[in-house]
Subunit: 162 residues, 4 copies
């Protein structure tokens, strides 16, 4: 997706680690960190999820929201909701995680993953306080660069009075 | 289990990554490295499995055999055979893996895990060329110490003419 | 030092990795990252210097300047200029490094280290585009948090038209 | 050097971390781990020295001896005895370290480094209980393989009644 473009809404039926569904609309004013992953993706487990968890712990909850998105596009039978719940429990993941909706026409790639033009997992997407996509990265990105973009987006949100 | 004791046979119905079932009897004469794990156990994924894979790659196949044992004692619905196959594929695990037999009386701890008195996962068990248990360790053990015991057992096997 | 306070000038006789001495005045308008270290300080070698080098590589040179400050307060005979030159060569450190001036009254702590109230090495100091101290940290700080402050300071510099 | 060859004696004027000079003759019967390093060699600091220290801590002192050899072949002015003492103190290195003797004819490579045909630092040399060279490795070697050779040499020493 082009940087600066508004993020389309995510399509999620089931949310874990949260009492109420999350929407981009409700998160307006906050920096949003979307970590798209699969529980059996080695790069997600070794890099992406620890990074998402570190972001969740490093920044004040009122100004930044980490959202996990379980975008299963392979091994569907092995990564259903029951398995994901066990995974979140074992890996002590506390931030909200939405299960990306299965494509009703049978495309193995789930709906949000298609709409957001993700190429695989892990994918990291950063949204500014107005809901614009400011980073859309497939693969690993080091903490220094991710931190710098987050710092910039937090400064912009603060300057805007959000 | 006491060091020096003969290892009881493992109870496995399904073997992956091998054409034929493995038995302790058939492996007599070789050093045997048993890595007991669960696919959703974080310490297994970050430490135990990489160590087992490194052992599998470092030593000549004729003198040492790495055997994975999937000892599921929790989250059974999330760690069945289909999920394990996806896991082995994604993590590029090539050594033979046996699925420890479920207890017919309903104990959540599988049969071999009970018989070998394992306390959790990961557990590393090293057997010498005569099938005696020479290391039985729950948790993480550094490569230097594991390597030293393997080196000693290989030297003993060689001295015995195995 | 209090956050927000103007940084006092550094006192450096010898500069390495630069044709001309650097001054805070000349760097006004840029974000300045000061990494105070000793070449025989293990925490500097394992954490601080790799972090400073990563910052030097990650950000555009026109907007951010990394400055090393060799603040020797112990083992003075082992960490003179010749030794430091060998160290910078072996560790492939390319950013400018100033040697903090020895105290003329014989205090083992060098002059800038005293004036900036540093407690040891490594110490990381971040200055905004107006020369104010925005971070003053002794010990290790993770890349995510350091990156976020840098991102914020870069955004402020940009908003100010620097 | 050929594996299996007897190690020639080392040429050391100054020993640190030990009350008395060490000789290969006195260490006969023990496994000897020689870690040749330079204090300003990055690969020594990040890999070789931590490995030597781990070996020193992992094995019983009566059966294995770790010996550091400071083989300075470059930046001689920066790595003299005073600097080395500061380095050993800061890096908490407790095992004996000998300073390889400078070549009296002016070759920058010190005498033992020449006699042992070392190509650079770090170099790891393992000697069995009879003083024969069983590993001679320039660069990094993983703990698993190093551990396995040590385990084999310890088993041989034990079998010989040493």
């Amino acid at each position: 997706m082009t940087n600066g473009q508004m993020a389309p809404p995510w399509e999620v039926d089931t949310w874990l680690n949260t009492d109420a569904p999350l929407s981009l609309q409700d998160l307006r004013g906050m920096v949003v960190v979307v970590h798209a992953f699969q529980m059996l993706c080695p790069g997600c487990v070794s890099h992406g999820i620890p990074q998402a968890r570190a972001i969740h712990q490093a920044f004040p909850p009122g100004r930044l929201q980490v959202v996990g998105l379980h975008t299963v596009f392979e091994h569907h039978a092995a990564m259903g909701e029951i398995a994901l719940r066990a995974f979140l429990h074992e890996y002590r993941i506390r931030f909200p995680v939405g299960i990306d909706r299965a494509d009703p026409r049978g495309n193995p790639i789930p709906v949000t993953m298609q709409a957001w033009h993700m190429q695989g997992t892990p994918t990291l997407v950063l949204l500014d306080h107005e809901g614009r996509i400011r980073l859309h990265h497939f693969g690993q990105l080091d903490d220094l660069r991710v931190g710098a973009i987050i710092g910039q987006l937090l400064a912009e949100a603060q300057a805007s009075g959000s």
